[in-house]
């Protein structure tokens, strides 16, 4: 028999977790003074100069965003480990349209979603008898109201905008789900999906120790941060440049509340940026600081996360083109309404 030195020792593991929490907290409070010291004392940059402000912005934002991502994504991943989709669909199957859509949108926040899991999720929901509209509420909310977008919004814009984004995203998901439910588009779901209905049987459930869960969450977070870090660095770099050099008048003229076409314009720009949400949010922050309207900013970010051409293509495996078109149209209209509404309310 082979030697499997795999039963881990538990005390050092939890000590490591504690040490990581302490290190995170210290780094969090040290980041701002450290960035200022580095930019103005060590590099000798002039506070208030274009270059000085741009570099100080970069040096402060990078560690702040990095720490937020590492900390919050780990915690969110840990929490959502308790809400696997197999359980979520059980909770949604017995509800009516309204309660179901609200629940689905809410659960979209905590459940994992990447475009490669869209199809199994869709089939699994339909198979368990979750109404089509409720399923779509989930499909809209899950990528849009995700922890990376929320963390970046919170870190760069503050908790107010992050909360507004979350509520707006949930509203689009709930209303979108209800509308799709009303349209009775069941015949646009591929036949083989209906054939699977009721065959699912008992769902698999993992048994995980707390240690497994912490390890999983950390591995996932590490991978994610490693993957999106280059985009974030480039994004914050461009954001820092805009912050230091781009004239406010130019941004106000194009993206300010005075331009009625700004909202649809940014939605169009956002569509191809789907996979780069992490890198784009820092740029958007700089633009907001330079006078881009709040509603326009929200519409831009929502379009970036929610309108995903690769996801639509993957969903073609389970739903026919008319339903995909309706899905994309409803999400787009919802985002445009949110954009105009906030511009109207604030200015």
């Amino acid at each position: 028999m082979t030697t499997l030195a795999l039963r881990r020792t538990h005390v050092p593991f939890w000590l490591g977790v504690g040490a990581a929490v302490v290190a995170w907290t210290i780094a969090w409070f040290a980041a701002a003074p450290f960035a200022a010291w580095l930019a103005f004392d060590v590099l000798g940059l002039q506070a208030g100069s274009h270059l000085g402000e741009a570099i100080a912005f970069f040096l402060y934002d990078v560690p702040k965003v990095l720490l937020l991502l590492l900390g919050i994504v780990t915690v969110v991943t840990l929490i959502r480990g308790f809400f696997p989709p197999e359980k979520v669909r059980g909770a949604l199957a017995g509800r009516g349209e309204f309660a179901g859509s609200v629940g689905a949108a809410g659960l979209g926040i905590v459940t994992p979603f990447c475009s490669c899991s869209a199809v199994p999720l869709f089939i699994g929901f339909v198979e368990a008898g979750v109404p089509l509209g409720v399923t779509f509420a989930f499909l809209i909310s899950s990528p849009m109201v995700n922890e990376v977008a929320l963390v970046l919004l919170w870190g760069l814009f503050g908790p107010g905008i992050a909360a507004v984004y979350m509520v707006a995203g949930l509203t689009v998901a709930i209303v979108g789900g209800l509308v799709i439910g009303r349209l009775h588009m069941e015949r646009y779901v591929e036949d083989y999906v209906w054939a699977l209905q009721g065959t699912g049987g008992a769902s698999f459930e993992m048994k995980l120790t707390p240690e497994d869960r912490v390890r999983d969450a950390w591995t996932y977070t590490k991978d994610l941060v490693r993957r999106i870090l280059p985009y974030i660095l480039v994004g914050i770099g461009i954001g820092a440049f805009i912050h230091g050099f781009v004239p406010t008048d130019l941004v106000v003229a194009i993206g300010g509340p005075g331009n009625p076409l700004a909202v649809p314009l940014v939605v169009l720009i956002a569509i191809p940026l789907y996979s780069n949400a992490a890198g784009t949010i820092p740029i958007v922050q700089a633009l907001l600081g330079k006078g881009m309207a709040v509603g326009t900013t929200l519409a831009f970010m929502m379009a970036m996360t929610a309108i995903s051409v690769p996801e639509f293509i993957i969903l073609k495996k389970v739903i026919k083109t008319p339903l995909i078109a309706v899905f994309a149209t409803i999400v787009t209209i919802g985002i445009l309404i949110i954009g105009y509404l906030f511009n109207f309310l604030i200015y």
């Binding site: 499997l4 490669c116 199994p120 089939i123 699994g124 999983d216």
Partner: protein, 78 residues
């Protein structure tokens, strides 16, 4: 001879799980055949909704996460 199946459409996560499974076979020092299941209907027939999934001798042992090679080796030698 163990039969290992990696369930997933072929995204990054599935590739990493397959790599861990191959390592685990070496760690456990057993004979095993690894196959990939990419068809959605077939993946769903195992009763899972989150990929990647891992099946050993027809039994689902993991879904929606990437277990380490060490964990898989333990399951293989059970």
């Amino acid at each position: 001879m163990k039969k290992i199946e990696v369930l997933g459409p072929g995204c990054n996560n599935c590739v990493r799980l397959e790599k861990n499974a191959r390592e685990a076979v070496v760690m456990a020092g057993i004979d095993a055949e690894i196959t990939k299941v990419t068809d959605y209907a077939e993946i769903m027939s195992y009763g899972i909704m989150s990929t990647p999934g891992l099946v050993i001798d027809g039994k689902v042992v993991s879904a929606g996460r990437i277990p380490s090679a060490g964990d898989i080796a333990v399951w293989l030698s059970e």
